[in-house]
């Protein structure tokens, strides 16, 4: 009925929502720099760490997109969960190594944590070789080695940054009782994993566009910040938590509406079912 009319009047020009994400290499460099700065300076306020966490999750989502595009055989979520599996091992190791006083543990700049991140990057690269090489599993996905290395590093950085957002530092003396013992690490695990796996899992298909997929990742990063902000205000106090919640809420509203706009613009036609009021 109304559907055909709408389909006909469609050829109005589509303005694509253009947030120009940097290309894959530049995004990786930006995310690594931001992630490293935020993780070696635990004195930064929580909302600055929140920006770092959003960028790291964005990088992970881009890597998931890059590797899962060729079809993994077991679904997109598996590679996001793999990232966080490595991330937990690398993050816990990094937290313990970084707390050694000789490596700057307890100081203002604490670079020791990066050892864990780099180590899990190596583990990821080797597992990528195992998965991709024809002598072993033979998945034949171009760039899987780099993708798995990046995912391991992004996962470890996400664990470290999100722990320090909640507890104010990632020092083992604080993180172990405040994050790991009470099980918050499981929440961090699934929050960061969703930021990485969900964008491509929900957007994949013939008309998938990188700019649109990554909007979802930033949006989930915002949701991460809201939830972690609530926890941070319980553990560190309102002064740290409230700006983080505000950052998360603003990011979420901006990017969610941008994503919905992009979807409506790029869809062939949008028809309402009558159950929910449509946006136009």
């Amino acid at each position: 009925m109304g559907e055909e009319e709408k389909a006909e009047e469609k050829p109005e020009e589509k303005e694509k929502f253009t947030l120009h994400f940097p290309n894959e290499n530049n995004l990786a460099i930006i995310a690594v720099i931001a992630g490293v700065i935020v993780s070696i300076l635990p004195v930064l306020p929580a909302f600055v760490k929140g920006i770092g966490a959003i960028l790291v999750i964005l990088w992970g989502a881009d890597s998931v997109r890059k590797t899962a595009r060729y079809g993994l055989g077991t679904g997109v979520p598996s590679i996001g969960v793999l990232a966080m599996g490595y991330g937990i091992v690398g993050g816990v190791t990094g937290i313990v190594i970084g707390s050694v006083p000789a490596l700057g543990g307890g100081g203002i700049v604490e670079p020791g944590v990066l050892v864990g991140v780099a180590a899990v990057g190596v583990v990821g690269y080797i597992s990528g070789i195992l998965a991709n090489n024809e002598k072993f599993i033979g998945m034949k996905i171009p760039g899987l080695e780099r993708g798995m290395a990046e995912l391991g590093m992004a996962g470890a950085l996400a664990v470290i940054i999100e722990s320090s957002m909640i507890a104010g530092t990632w020092n083992a003396a604080v993180v172990i009782p405040e994050i790991i013992e009470n099980g918050l690490i499981a929440l961090i695990f699934i929050l960061a994993a969703f930021g990485m796996l969900q964008p491509y899992n929900s957007c994949l298909g013939a008309d998938e566009r990188r700019g649109r997929t990554l909007l979802v990742s930033v949006e989930i990063g915002g949701l991460n910040c809201i939830i972690l902000g609530v926890l941070a205000s319980l553990i560190q106090g309102m002064a740290q938590g409230v700006p983080l919640i505000a950052l998360g809420a603003i990011t979420w509203v901006l990017f969610y509406s941008a994503y919905v706009r992009a979807c409506l613009n790029e869809a062939h036609s949008v028809v309402g079912t009558g159950l929910i009021k449509t946006m136009r």
Binding site: S78, L82, G85, I88, V100, A172, I180, F189
Partner: protein
């Protein structure tokens, strides 16, 4: 820390990882085709099945481990209880899936890869709907899945109990690190299977198991080294208590 203990932790991480990989290879995984009852196995991916059963196994293992308060837990008992927990979980999953297939979709559990069930010697081919790859969990797949759940749960619980006993990790830390190593291995095994598998009678199993176990060995060795580094460094921080 005592080097023997470090080696013990490394070895248990490797054995646990290899068992996790072996467990995944034994499960009847149907994936998306099984959701339409056109392939043998449970209608979900390897990772979901194995993580679900292994986490249940870790719960039972940690519950059993909590009976030893002031001394080292008995490794064999805790690891076995993890295996039993995982076995129960995967058993219920397969049973309920079979009930749905039989009474909901109206099909007989039948293997698509072998003509005769290797355990019960029941004939399979004439019950298979043409152009499908089997349905549900026939006896051999069910038994294979139970063995897979047991092996995987045993492996996960073995990593857990070694970390708790000898590295003096707290139960929460030991659990999350065990899950981390377990998941990495389970997912590599899932990539090795590449979608669907019926169990140990599937020709794919013989074809791919060696590569899968080798990949699991390398990955668990590397993850184990990271954990051993953390275990070695932690006491030197002088924080007291458990990691």
């Amino acid at each position: 820390m005592d080097p023997i203990i470090l080696v013990l932790i490394l070895v248990s991480a490797i054995i646990g990882g290899i068992l996790a990989s072996l467990g995944v290879h034994l499960l009847p995984v149907g994936g998306a085709p099984a959701a339409m009852a056109t392939a043998t196995g449970v209608a979900t991916g390897c990772v979901m099945l194995m993580t679900g059963s292994a986490v249940t196994g870790l719960f039972t293992a940690s519950a059993v481990a909590s009976f030893w308060e002031f001394e080292h837990a008995n490794i064999a008992l805790v690891a076995l209880s993890g295996g039993v927990g995982a076995m129960l979980m995967i058993g219920w999953t397969m049973l309920i899936a079979n009930l749905l297939y039989v009474f909901g979709a109206g099909i007989v559990p039948v293997s698509g890869r072998v003509a005769v069930d290797p355990i019960t010697k029941e004939s399979q081919t004439e019950y298979k709907t043409p152009r499908t790859d089997g349905h549900g969990m026939p006896n051999v797949s069910y038994i294979s899945g139970m063995i897979g759940g047991f092996v995987g749960g045993f492996g996960g619980a073995l990593i857990y109990v070694t970390l708790e006993n000898f590295a003096h990790f707290s139960p929460a830390t030991a659990g999350i690190v065990a899950i981390g190593i377990f998941i990495a291995n389970a997912i590599l095994a899932a990539y090795n299977i590449g979608g669907t598998i019926e169990g140990f009678h599937d020709p794919k199993f013989k074809e791919r198991i060696a590569v899968g176990l080798f990949a699991a060995f390398v990955v668990s060795l590397l993850c184990g080294i990271l954990v051993v580094v953390a275990v070695e460094i932690f006491p030197s921080l002088g924080l007291g208590g458990a990691l």
